[in-house]
């Protein structure tokens, strides 16, 4: 037998071996007893349940984030807004103060500025003082 024949024979033997092996393994898989098949179905159901639990956990996390965002919008943001007025060093508060001052001084409508709380009363006092200075200013 030459080398080519040997190789062909070996290939054929390998193919037979692979087919035989696959057949044996198929038989093993198909011959699983009822108890094992039920255990596999149970394992699959538990795996699927773990997936549902994972989504529930993620859903709970999402709801927690949404709640935190709502709390931030309802409770914390208004406080930040009032801080801007309370804090005179805040650029936004300064800009707001200057705008109101200019409007009051230029239009003479100081008395029309709506006052609603102590902070705005202090602001109005400041504006009244500025207006008084304007009225009592002596150009000479």
């Amino acid at each position: 037998m030459n080398r080519q024949d040997e190789a062909a024979g070996s290939d054929h033997a390998d193919q037979v071996l692979l087919q035989t092996a696959a057949g044996f393994l198929d038989d093993e898989a198909n011959a699983l007893d009822r108890q094992t098949r039920m255990a596999l179905a149970d394992a699959r159901a538990r795996a699927a349940a773990s997936r549902r639990r994972q989504w529930l956990a993620w859903g709970g996390g999402g709801m927690g984030l949404a709640l935190a965002a709502s709390l931030t919008a309802v409770v914390i943001m208004p406080r930040i807004g009032s801080d801007a007025i309370d804090n005179p060093g805040n650029p936004a508060a300064l800009a707001q103060l200057k705008t109101v001052q200019d409007a009051a001084v230029n239009d003479g409508t100081l008395g029309e500025v709506a006052l609603t709380d102590d902070t705005e009363s202090a602001l109005a006092d400041d504006l009244a003082f500025v207006a008084w200075l304007e009225e009592n200013h002596d150009p000479s």
Binding site: A13, D14, L17, L18, T20, A21, A22, F24, L25, D26, D27, E28, A29, N30, L32, T36, R37, A39, L40, A41, A43, R44, R46, A47, A48, S50, R51, R52, Q54, W55
Partner: protein, 186 residues
């Protein structure tokens, strides 16, 4: 990304679970509970991590996950044997891979049925397959049974194609001799 309908994954896993269990049973050398745990772990990973992947990829992913779990099982066994059962250890082969320890020999396989030639051959084959080193087992089962090519097998096993060829060749040599001896005895 919204979850894919889990019934698709359920149907896929139902179609592969028996083969997966048989693979795990061979890899654990007949330890049924461990084989079931491995299959369930692999199924859980598929549901949790890969359900959103394209269905066409599920087969390759499942092989990869399953054989990764099998490798983990062997690593844990090896570690335990090294510390607690050193006198039972089988050592390593030329590749540095764990050889089957004597405690792994599956005695639960029933004695061959004298009346059925095929059954006897199958018994011999399964015993030989159980006794192969893990990587040879994996290469043989993925190539011969699952029908993967060398590249796909390498991906599932997490090794090079050259390693797959080496493992496959050694496994074929052992199993061929077993089956030929069985045929001669008949």
């Amino acid at each position: 990304m919204p979850p894919r309908d889990s019934s698709d994954m359920d149907a896929f896993l139902r179609s592969v679970e028996r083969r997966a269990y048989t693979t795990a049973l061979v890899a654990t050398r007949g330890k049924r509970e461990d084989a079931l745990d491995i299959v369930q772990d692999a199924m859980t990973a598929m549901f949790r991590s890969y359900a959103a992947h394209p269905v066409a990829e599920w087969g390759a992913l499942f092989h990869r996950v399953l054989h990764s779990r099998i490798n983990d099982w062997h690593r844990r066994r090896s570690l335990r044997a090294r510390f607690f059962l050193p006198w039972f250890g089988g050592g390593t082969d030329a590749d540095g891979e764990e050889q089957p320890a004597t405690e792994f020999v599956d005695e639960s396989i029933p004695a061959p049925d004298e009346a059925v030639h095929r059954a006897r051959q199958q018994e011999k084959f399964m015993r030989a397959l159980h006794a192969l080193p893990l990587r040879q087992q994996q290469a043989f089962m993925l190539r011969a049974w699952e029908g993967l090519d060398t590249a796909q097998t390498a991906q599932a096993m997490g090794c090079s194609e050259g390693s797959v060829k080496t493992h496959m060749s050694r496994a074929m040599q052992v199993l061929r001799e077993i089956l030929q001896d069985g045929a001669r005895e008949e």
